[in-house]
């Protein structure tokens, strides 16, 4: 019996250590945001919500946050049709070079972000659209699209090819088959992928940094800019708001489709 007890001690030690490591940054920033002092410290000096008040007043932070939301929304809206169709096609049809396509789709994500960021900076620069928000949304979509495709492919590959034949047999023409049968069946994957895309675009820093100018900074870039001048606890507070937004997205996901499908997505 002692053998299994010492085993469980070792396992639990690892589990707790891992949990502490993973959550430490969040806890530190959360604690620091409640400080009553004027510099970021952990543990905080006293407790107050004054820095939350400060960020509510700071229009630059608020506007940067809104811009991040816009970027994330554009990215999600673009990725839903593109990722859904690509995911279904890869899962359902014997696409020629399916393997190569998958690797190609991974590329923007596999090559260093700074490289693809600079590439997109050149492309959008040539088009003369640098500094607007939609190119940032498109860029986030391009980089993170594999996640969307994985999520959709995971649901679509469980889909029996007989279902579409059955729908045809029921009298459904091709478009109706897609709308009534295929799409609802892959919907959990689409929801998972969309929320993932939203969160990733909301958080995207490096590519945003390269594609924005002073008029169009997104929140991560705004925070980064502020860190370079003075580090005040309002940055911790805005980070907490940021983390909370991501957490809400995860909660919505869990509520809509359950986290298990999210975790199972290949």
């Amino acid at each position: 019996m002692t053998g299994s007890r010492s085993k469980s001690v070792v396992i639990w030690t690892f589990v707790i250590a891992a949990l502490v490591m993973l959550s430490a940054p969040t806890i530190v920033v959360l604690g620091a945001s409640f400080t009553a002092g004027n510099i970021i410290t952990f543990p905080p000096e006293g407790l107050s919500l004054k820095w939350y008040g400060a960020i509510a007043q700071a229009s630059d932070l608020r506007q940067a946050f809104i811009r991040s939301l816009i970027v994330a929304t554009i990215c999600t809206i673009v990725s839903i049709p593109v990722g859904t169709l690509a995911g279904i096609a890869l899962a359902k049809y014997r696409v020629r070079f399916a393997r190569s396509i998958q690797i190609y789709l991974l590329l923007p994500f596999t090559i260093p972000l700074i490289g693809s960021g600079i590439g997109m900076m050149l492309v959008f620069g040539n088009m003369g659209v640098l500094g607007r928000l939609w190119p940032v949304g498109i860029a986030c979509c391009v980089i993170n699209l594999p996640f969307m495709i994985w999520a959709v492919t995971a649901s679509a590959s469980n889909l029996s090819p007989d279902l579409e034949l059955a729908a045809a047999n029921c009298g459904a023409p091709p478009l109706q088959r897609f709308l009534y049968i295929t799409l609802p069946a892959v919907l959990p994957g689409v929801i998972t992928g969309s929320l993932l895309m939203f969160i990733l675009a909301l958080n995207e820093f490096l590519v945003s940094l390269l594609l924005v100018d002073a008029r169009s900074v997104t929140l991560p870039v705004q925070i980064y800019n502020s860190i370079r001048s003075i580090i005040t606890p309002d940055l911790a507070a805005i980070s907490v708001v940021f983390i909370a937004s991501a957490a809400i997205a995860i909660a919505v996901l869990d509520r809509l489709v359950g986290l298990d499908i999210f975790l199972k997505s290949k």
Binding site: S160, D162, L163, L165, A166, A167, A168, N169, C170, G171, A172, P173, Q176, Y180, I181, P184, A185, L187
Partner: protein, 375 residues
């Protein structure tokens, strides 16, 4: 083969499905060759064959999922090669049922009506009527995964029938069920088919199912139709050795035709001469042949005297006796016929003498029960 089989077709019997010289080639594999048959309205046809015999391919062509590489299929006298599946009025029950998982039972049954633009106000009443037909009244609100295997079967049947199709196709939907449920559903298919009078084509590899449910049976092998007949005919007078072997349990005695006189023929095998009935005109003296005797047509007794009235008697030794409840299956080695193993059924295990492995026995059968096929 089909052209030769006699159709009992009166002037009022209209043809629901006509398959004319249909062939299907995948790459260099001939999945179906030259299939031709007519199915009168209201009949229940079963296409029986082992896997890879082409029976499912034929069904999929009738459903419109694959186009034949040659020949034409007519449904209600109209050629359908150019008609996509959703424009054919065919209901189908799939092997894996293919119910829509995100819909309730009632929504599944309503789907064909919605897609075929039936009057929306009449749909709920019709759905309920068909759910009652398959004895699922009141289950409409259940999700598919809340139903048992048998109930899912019934939803699939209701969905295939609710729009009153010209033709019902069954693609081995019972294959995955356990035996008791399968036999129950076979009778259910038969009841519903008779009640609605819908022309039905069923595909299966289960010979018992084919005999139980069908008005007509087509036996397929290697992409070819081997025989089309009513179940009793297919069983009693198989057209060839394949059909004799596939339906029922049959003992084959290989030999050479010694003489032929009209239908009666004598087969010489291992120095014995066995009388039988020739199948087909082509069989002539000197041909290699196989005599087929059904396991239930062979009588088994301890001594030859008890079987005195039978035409053919052989002696052997019991190798195995398998008790199956309603019958005993004996395996008997017959030294006089090249040590061949015979399978023999005894259908009265309560009253009959029972044999054990090692017992010497005598087997006997009548000449009219040995069908002789050309090899």
């Amino acid at each position: 083969m089909a052209a030769a089989s006699a159709e009992r077709r009166g002037p009022r019997d209209t043809i629901a499905v006509s398959v004319r010289d249909v062939g299907m080639v995948f790459g260099d594999v001939h999945a179906v060759r030259n299939a031709s048959f007519d199915l009168p309205k209201g009949r229940f046809l079963t296409i029986l064959g082992p896997s890879g015999s082409g029976k499912t391919t034929l069904l999929r062509m009738i459903a419109g999922f694959d186009a034949p590489t040659s020949g034409e299929i007519y449904i209600n006298d109209r050629p359908v090669s150019a008609v996509p599946p959703h424009r054919r009025a065919i209901g189908m029950v799939f092997q894996k049922l293919a119910l829509f998982p995100h819909m309730t039972a009632a929504e599944n049954v309503a789907f064909p009506l919605k897609m075929r633009r039936h009057d929306a106000r009449a749909i709920p009443e019709k759905v309920e009527r068909y759910l009652e037909l398959v004895r699922l009244g009141g289950y409409g609100g259940r999700r598919i995964n809340e139903l048992s295997g048998g109930q899912q079967q019934r939803v699939a049947i209701a969905r295939a029938l609710v729009f009153e199709p010209d033709l019902l196709l069954l693609d081995e939907p019972l294959a995955a069920l356990d035996r008791k449920l399968r036999e129950e559903m076979q009778l259910e298919f038969r009841r519903i088919q008779k009640e609605l009078g819908v022309t039905t084509i069923n595909v299966t590899h289960d010979q018992r199912e084919a005999l139980v449910v069908s008005d007509e049976v087509i036996v397929m092998e290697g992409g070819l139709i081997q025989q089309k007949a009513e179940p009793v005919q297919a069983y009693r007078t198989p057209a060839n050795a394949f059909v004799a072997n596939f339906i029922g349990v049959t003992n084959f005695i290989e030999g050479v035709v010694a003489a032929r006189d009209g239908a009666s023929v004598s087969v010489s095998a291992h120095g014995c001469t066995l009388p039988g009935v020739a199948v087909g005109e082509a069989l002539a003296g000197g041909d290699a042949c196989a005599g087929a005797v059904r396991a239930e047509q062979i009588r088994i007794a301890p001594r030859a005297e008890t079987l005195g009235n039978l035409d053919t008697l052989v002696e052997g030794t019991v190798v195995d006796a398998i008790f199956e409840g309603e019958r005993i299956v004996y395996e008997v080695r017959v030294p006089g016929l090249g040590d061949q193993l015979f399978r023999v059924f005894d259908h009265d295990p309560v009253n009959h003498l029972q044999f054990s492995p090692g017992d010497s026995v005598c087997l006997g059968w009548n000449a009219r029960d040995m069908h002789v096929f050309k090899k």
